[in-house]
């Protein structure tokens, strides 16, 4: 038993992203069996579309978590709500205004990221509390700004968010491409290497001449911009911005990072696992719906699976201790 567990862990450590994909496939197979083999195409298509949103916020959150223990961005849901509302109101349903609206929303996200890092760095507030308090303020702004806002997204943006080419959601193609770029950034760029170095040992990174503050600053801004982009696309996807559309993405953003095999202690991450975990999470809900599992039981199972994944994966002992 122990040796099997050890073997499992060694596979996990060499290819941490594999289990998210294997899990997603197993769940997909069970769903298909329960469905007597019908509807496979639709399920995949829906999983790609919904998974895109999980992946977007997950990638941003992953960069933050990579930067070391204690780093996390809890302002994602509030950010999604505010950025979505800002984008929809500036675009005003007109295609011509899409670039300006997008720019405003991303700028809004970047501003939230700057505030987050200012709280962390200048006021020396722990990231979890800093992003939590800033999210309270952003939430209020979103409520006041978005009150009674019923503006439908511009047709072109709605087409990108909901359209399909040969059954494959356009959005998912874009987000997969973006994930590819971010994988390059993480593993090949100087910024990515600095980030991982900081996550593994901040003091050593600092002594090696890495400008730790600057890299961490960029990371919080990056995460906030990804959340803002998710807000814009989510608003376009659901036919307009709503205040609570970001709610589920706090837990989801952290869950996909963990299930995707990124070390919560920082320093070790992978982007592909995020997509595996995003598909896994969506397919899990689909499977339980297909099997006729009620809301309560579905939540219990989701929670137990997250706990089971982290228990089996274990933590990387010896890296920081």
């Amino acid at each position: 038993m122990t040796s099997r567990l050890a073997k499992f862990q060694s596979i996990w450590q060499s290819a941490p992203y594999a289990f998210a994909f294997i899990g997603a496939m197993v769940i997909f197979a069970i769903t298909l069996i329960a469905n007597q083999g019908s509807g496979a195409g639709q399920i995949v298509s829906a999983a790609l579309a919904f998974g895109s949103f999980y992946a977007l916020v997950g990638i941003g959150q992953m960069f933050v978590i990579t930067s070391g223990p204690g780093n996390i961005d809890l302002s994602v849901p509030a950010n999604i709500a505010l950025s979505g509302a800002v984008a929809m109101s500036i675009m005003g349903g007109s295609d011509a205004m899409i670039p300006l609206g997008l720019l405003a929303a991303l700028g809004c996200g970047a501003a939230i990221g700057c505030v987050n890092y200012a709280l962390i760095s200048v006021l020396r507030i722990p990231p979890i509390i800093a992003t939590l308090s800033s999210s309270f303020v952003v939430q209020s702004l979103a409520i006041v700004y978005g009150r009674g806002l019923r503006i439908t997204p511009p047709p072109f943006l709605a087409e990108i968010a909901t359209g399909r080419v040969a059954g494959i959601p356009i959005l998912s193609v874009l987000v997969i491409a973006l994930a590819g770029v971010m994988a390059l950034v993480l593993h090949r760029s100087i910024y990515g290497r600095f980030l991982k170095a900081i996550g593994q040992n901040m003091n050593a990174a600092s002594l090696a001449g890495i400008r730790v503050g600057l890299v961490r600053f960029g990371t919080y801004v990056l995460c906030a911009i990804f959340a803002a982009l998710c807000g814009v696309l989510l608003a376009a996807f659901s036919g307009g911005a709503s205040l609570n559309m970001g709610e589920e993405y706090l837990l989801a953003s952290i869950a996909v990072v963990v299930i995707g095999g990124t070390s919560v202690a920082g320093g070790f991450s992978n982007v592909s696992g995020i997509w595996g975990a995003a598909l896994f999470l969506y397919l899990l809900v689909t499977m339980m719906n297909t099997l006729g599992v009620g809301t309560g039981l579905r939540q219990i199972l989701t929670g137990l699976i997250i706990v089971a994944v982290i228990t089996l994966a274990g933590s990387r002992r010896g890296v920081r201790e």
């Binding site: 006021l123 309270f136 303020v137 209020s140 006041v144 837990l251 869950a255 219990i300």
Partner: protein, 312 residues
């Protein structure tokens, strides 16, 4: 200024914030300065204070509990259903949930897991149980529970007495007793505690069991006050409890906590809502104002910390 003891300053911040807040409330709405007014404002603060204390136990051992809100909700649902209809089953369920918390502590310690992720997963589990018990808002609190919580103390509202007792009991248990020192040390310097022959596993399980117990108390008091429950009744407690401990002078690491400060912090957070509604600030800005207040207090704290560093 230079002669001010930084430690004293640190302990004074939570008390001063609460005092300032109360003075502001009394000035704006003098009628609150009465038995009835205080009782009304503080009733809903008491369960938050208990949940904050549960969070404090977890923070003491360098962990973080993202599931306490879901847990308190589940306890509230158990209290409003089983505990009322079939008391034995209800009591068994509550004991089992405390045991589950202790088991989580063991799991987190043995497998060296990040508490944030485990408790995040458990928040789904608690919430799922709550939904299974009470799919729609309702249920009824047991009469004895309502009677206890709504008991009218002479002169001083029950909520104030209970908060004071809560703060003092945990203060003496955790800050002044020999056992409490070991418990805190297991967060401050685990290696040293282990080398001194203590079982870190037992210490962590104790802290998680304590957190579970205070979570159960929080849920019971909450249901006693509201007399009915729903599955989402206490979800915001997760964030409020973390903020309360930090406002009260606690730190995320190193076993540095202050039970009395945490109670003050929880009361402060709960009362901010009252102040804002007296100021006729629309509810939309309330949550933002809570956030701003957190930032201001933490900014003050970081000033105090720098002061401390310079003093050393």
């Amino acid at each position: 200024m230079a002669r001010l003891d930084p430690k004293l300053l640190r302990a004074a911040v939570p008390a001063l914030s609460l005092a300032l807040l109360l003075v502001a409330i009394f000035i704006i709405q003098p009628r609150t300065m009465s038995y009835f007014g205080l009782n009304l404002m503080l009733n809903l603060a008491l369960p938050i204070a208990f949940a904050t204390m549960a969070q404090l136990f977890i923070l003491t051992v360098n962990d973080l509990d993202l599931s306490i809100g879901g847990f308190v909700s589940m306890v509230a649902c158990i209290a409003a259903t089983w505990l009322n209809e079939t008391p034995l089953l209800g009591i068994a369920a509550l004991i089992a949930s405390i045991a589950a918390y202790a088991a989580l502590g063991a799991l987190i310690h043995l497998r060296n897991l990040p508490s944030i992720v485990v408790t995040l997963g458990m928040s789904f589990v608690w919430l799922g149980c709550a939904v299974l018990l009470l799919p729609s808002p309702g249920g009824a609190a047991p009469d004895w529970l309502t009677a206890i919580v709504k008991f009218k103390m002479p002169f001083v509202p029950l909520a104030i007495v209970a908060s004071a007792v809560l703060g003092l009991v945990v203060h003496f248990g955790l800050m002044r007793s020999a056992g409490g020192v070991v418990l805190r040390a297991s967060g401050g310097n685990p290696q040293a505690v282990a080398k001194a022959g203590w079982s870190l596993l037992k210490l962590k399980v104790t802290m998680y069991a304590l957190a579970g117990t205070f979570g159960v108390l929080s849920g019971l008091i909450l249901v006693g006050t509201t007399t009915s429950a729903d599955a989402n009744i206490a979800l915001r407690y997760t964030l409020l409890s973390i903020a309360g401990v930090i406002l009260g002078g606690g730190e995320f690491t190193g076993g540095r906590v202050s039970p009395i400060g945490a109670v003050l912090g929880a009361l402060t957070l709960a009362l901010v809502g009252s102040l804002l509604s007296f100021l006729r600030i629309s509810p939309e800005w309330q949550i933002g104002a809570q956030g701003l207040m957190l930032i201001v207090v933490l900014a003050l704290r970081s000033l105090v910390n720098r002061f401390e560093e310079r003093a050393q």
